[in-house]
Symmetry: C2
Amino acid sequence: MTASGADGTVGPVEPVPAHAAQHRATIADVARRAGVGAGTVSRVLNGGARVSETTRRRVLAVIDELDYRPSQAARNLSLGTTSTVGVVVPFFTHASAVERLRGLVPVLTGGAYDFVLFDVETREHRNHHLDSLSRPGRIDGAVVVSLPLTDAEVTRFTRARIPLVLLDAAHPGVPHVVIDDVRGGRLATEHLIALGHWRIAFVGDPPTNPFDFTSSTDRRQGYHDALARAGIAARPEYVKEGSHDREVAFRLTEELLSLPEPPTAVFVASDTQALGVLEAARRHDVAVPGDLSVIGFDDIEVSRLVGLTTVRQPLQDSGARAGALLLQLLEGGTAPAETLLPLEVVFRETTAPPPTARSGRATSGRGARR
Amino acid sequence: MTASGADGTVGPVEPVPAHAAQHRATIADVARRAGVGAGTVSRVLNGGARVSETTRRRVLAVIDELDYRPSQAARNLSLGTTSTVGVVVPFFTHASAVERLRGLVPVLTGGAYDFVLFDVETREHRNHHLDSLSRPGRIDGAVVVSLPLTDAEVTRFTRARIPLVLLDAAHPGVPHVVIDDVRGGRLATEHLIALGHWRIAFVGDPPTNPFDFTSSTDRRQGYHDALARAGIAARPEYVKEGSHDREVAFRLTEELLSLPEPPTAVFVASDTQALGVLEAARRHDVAVPGDLSVIGFDDIEVSRLVGLTTVRQPLQDSGARAGALLLQLLEGGTAPAETLLPLEVVFRETTAPPPTARSGRATSGRGARR
DNA sequence: TTGAAAGCGTTACCAC
DNA sequence: GTGGTAACGCTTTCAA
C-alpha cells in the first residue's frame, strides 16, 4: 500500500485494458469452430440432453479455448424468463428497511432465483422502477416494500404475469404482509397512559409525502384513539410532524420542550426519530425517563442497545414472510391475501411514571425542565 | 384492517388474477394495429426522431389502448446495453456495508443508470454473481465491494468490456478505493499506548474465511507493529479472533476478562464487534473506560450514539468515490488506479488511561475486574 | 445424436 | 417521414 497525492489518488488507468479480443465469442463461433450446430452447443451447456461424449468434450474444449460465455440478454429473450426476483425498497439504507431485508434476503437467495434490489429515493425512482419492472423480461417476480400501489400499477404486474407481493403496504387482490399501525399507535399511547401520563406528545412523519406512506399518520390515529378512550383532550401543539430524520426529530423535540406546559411523555412514530428525541432531551438536560418518557416504534437493532422502550414489530420476520409468499406464487401456488403481523410493547429504560406521579427513586426533580 | 386467523393470515388469492389478455402486446401488434411499421413505433418510443405528428398520435393511442410495454430483454439484446450498473456486496445489511451504500446509491442513482444490488452471503453467491455479471448483456458496469478478485475474474470483466471498480479491495489494473488497514490498526493501538496502556488485547475476524477478507488481519498486523515499536511484547493469549458478530465478540471478551492477567484495553477490528465487547464488559461489571478501554474501527452510525472511541474510515465517502469512478469509466474516461482514503482516531468515551496510571476521576477502582 | 431453421421482441440501417 | 428488413445471441422444434 503506497502513499499518494494530496487527493488520495494514484496514477491513471487505461480506459479499457484492451488486451482483449475484438469480438466476443458467440454460440455461433463456438459451433463453427467445433464443427457442430449451435443447437448442440446449447444442449451441452443447458439441457442435460443427449449429446455424445465425444462432441460434448470437443464443444467444452472450444468453449474454454474461446472463453465463451452465453449472453444473458439473449438467453432471457429466448427463454422468456429471467430467474431473477426484484425487490423495490424506498431508502433501503434506513434501519427498518435494512432489518426487513435481513429477513427477506436469505429466503429469496436460497432458491433458484437471483435477488436484485432496486432502491427508491425519489418519486421518479418509484415510478421508474415500478414501470420498468412491470414490463416483461426484466424480473420473474417482485416484492415491493412500503409503497402503496395504484390499481393501474398492480394491473401492469398482473398483465405481465409477474407475481407480486407487498410488504408494509396493502392492496386488495395482492398478497401483502402488514401490521396494524393504528393499533400500534394505541398500544404505545396506552403504555404511557398506564404509567400515569396525560401530557403526551406525538412526533412523526409528515402526513403528505411523495410516496404516500401512511404508517406514521395511522400511528397518530391510534394515539388520538387512545387519548380519547382515556378521556384525555388532544392538544394540537403536542403533535409534531417532520421528515423521517433524526435531526428533524431533534428540532421538533426542542419545540415541544420549550412549550409553556411541556409534555411529560412522547410517542415517536419510529425508533430512528426517537433517537433524535433522546438526543434533544440529553442536550437540554431533561432526564429520561425521569422528566420525559419516550416510546418509539419498530424496535430496530440499536433500540435494544440504547434501552429504548418501543412498540416492536417483527421487521425481520416480515421480510421472511413476504419472501416466502413470493416463492409460493412463483411456483404457481396461491398466497393468503393478507398476513397481519403481531405487535408488542417492549418496556425498557426510557419510559416511567411522570414526575408528579412518582414516589420512589430520586430524580432531578420535576419542573427542572429547560 | 381486519383481524385474522391464528397464523395471522386471511383468505387465499388467485395464483394469477387472470383478467388479463392472453397475449402481451408486442411492437408488431402495435405497428399492425396502427397501420405502420415497427420501425416507426420504435421511433416514437425512443429517438426523438422525425415522425409526423399525426402518426405519432395514432401510434401513441394504440400503445395506450393495447397497454403495450417494450420488452426489456429484447431491448437489451438489440441495443447491446442494459443501462444498469451492478453492485456486489457481501452481507449488505451489515452496518459498514450499509454506510458504504449510503454513499454509493445517490451517485449511481442520479444519472442515466439503474442501480441494482447483488447480495453475497456465501462463497457460492460470490462466484455466481461474479460469473453472471461478467458475462455480456447483464450490466454495463460494476462496483464490487470488499471482495478480492482473482486475475481470471478481472479478465472476464475486461474481456466483456464491463467497467469495474473495486471498493475496499485492491487489484492491480482495476481502479480501487481503499484505506490502509495496517496503518489503521497501528493508529488504534498507538492511541491506547499513548494513554498509558501496555496490556492491550485484540479482537477481530478469523484470518481464514470464505471470502478472503483481509482487513481484520491487516489491522492486527498494525496492532503488532505498534506494540513492537513501543517495545511491548505481544501476548498470544491477548489475540482473539472469531466470526464478525456481536455475540462472538461477547464471548471472546469473556475469555479475555477471565485471563489471570486480563488486558486493560482492547482494540477491536470493527465497531460491530466492539459493541459486543462493550456488552460483555457491562455484563461482568467491568467499568468502561475505568477498568477497560475499548477502541473500535469504522465509525458506523451507532458508534457516535454509544460514545465509542474508534478509528474512523470515511465509509460513506468511499461509496461515493467508487460510484463516481465507475461513472467516469462508463463515460469512456479513465480512473486513477488507487484512491487511498484517510483514517482518523475519534476519541470518545470508551478509552482512558489504565487503572494503575490514573490519577483524577474516581472509578470503581482497579483490580475490581471480575 | 445432431444440424438447420424458426422464433423471441427490439433497434437500426436502407431504400422509397 | 416511413416501411421493410437485417441483425442481436440464444433455445427449441423438426427432420434426418
